[in-house]
Symmetry: C2
Subunit: 131 residues, 2 copies
Amino acid sequence: MRYADTILEIIASSHSHMTAEQIFFALKQQYPSVVLATVYNNLNSLYAQEKIRKISVAGYPDRYDKNTRHDHLVCRRCGSLLDIHLSDLTQELERQTGFAIEGYDLKIRCLCPQCRAKEQAAHQAYESQDL
Amino acid sequence: MRYADTILEIIASSHSHMTAEQIFFALKQQYPSVVLATVYNNLNSLYAQEKIRKISVAGYPDRYDKNTRHDHLVCRRCGSLLDIHLSDLTQELERQTGFAIEGYDLKIRCLCPQCRAKEQAAHQAYESQDL
DNA sequence: ATTGGAATTAGAATAATTCTAAATTTGGTG
DNA sequence: CACCAAATTTAGAATTATTCTAATTCCAAT
């Protein structure tokens, strides 16, 4: 895992949530000979060690994130992600489910500002059309 | 959308969480000439109308579920899903995020009973080996 | 009957990811 | 240092899930 630390740094220092391909291009800046499969190998290994998180949203490639406890806002229109720090639900979920849980993944569906603007524009175009 | 209602019924009456392919085979019982692309067309349309939910877990094909409010237990080892009815977090999430949210998706990571048994067996084999 | 629009079909295409086998690198040992 | 074994990387083929395209079929309204 010669590249594992560099990949961890790329993920840690990114404010976006990068796909395997984006990480691949970032890594290529430093190691031009590296190959996408290696990135997948490293990401899978880091994920298995729980050093990174993997975020799956239907319709989008998997994205990777640092493994700190936080939740995500997901735009229902463009799929963009935003970290959000909410209070930890583990205790409450254990109380409600009645057993020890290993963790959880909370995605909040919303509209990002750009998409909100686009939807409003579309809505107004519709409203003002001749009927 | 000639098959939409049948697909809805298949999803509603299934206690598992079916993949597009499983739904395709179930639908084929009644309509042997139907084709996988049609199932995807119907599922995408039902999903766009919010009549069904789509569940994405990294490493597994998307699965579909009825669109009632409930959460999911996800086995971290085999990916199996189980519905669980927890109290609605919308209010609390709106309070914490400070804006109107459209919904959320909560997956609780755990080990299903079968996988727990397997992990224990593996653990005991490891413990009892000659060192 | 005829037509138009929507849905379905078949199958090719695409995208993401994994797999396989060969080559390379690494670390330990004599 | 030289060698070996193990682990990692590489290249590229393969697989899987899903979407796309174009042709066909279905159905409802003339």
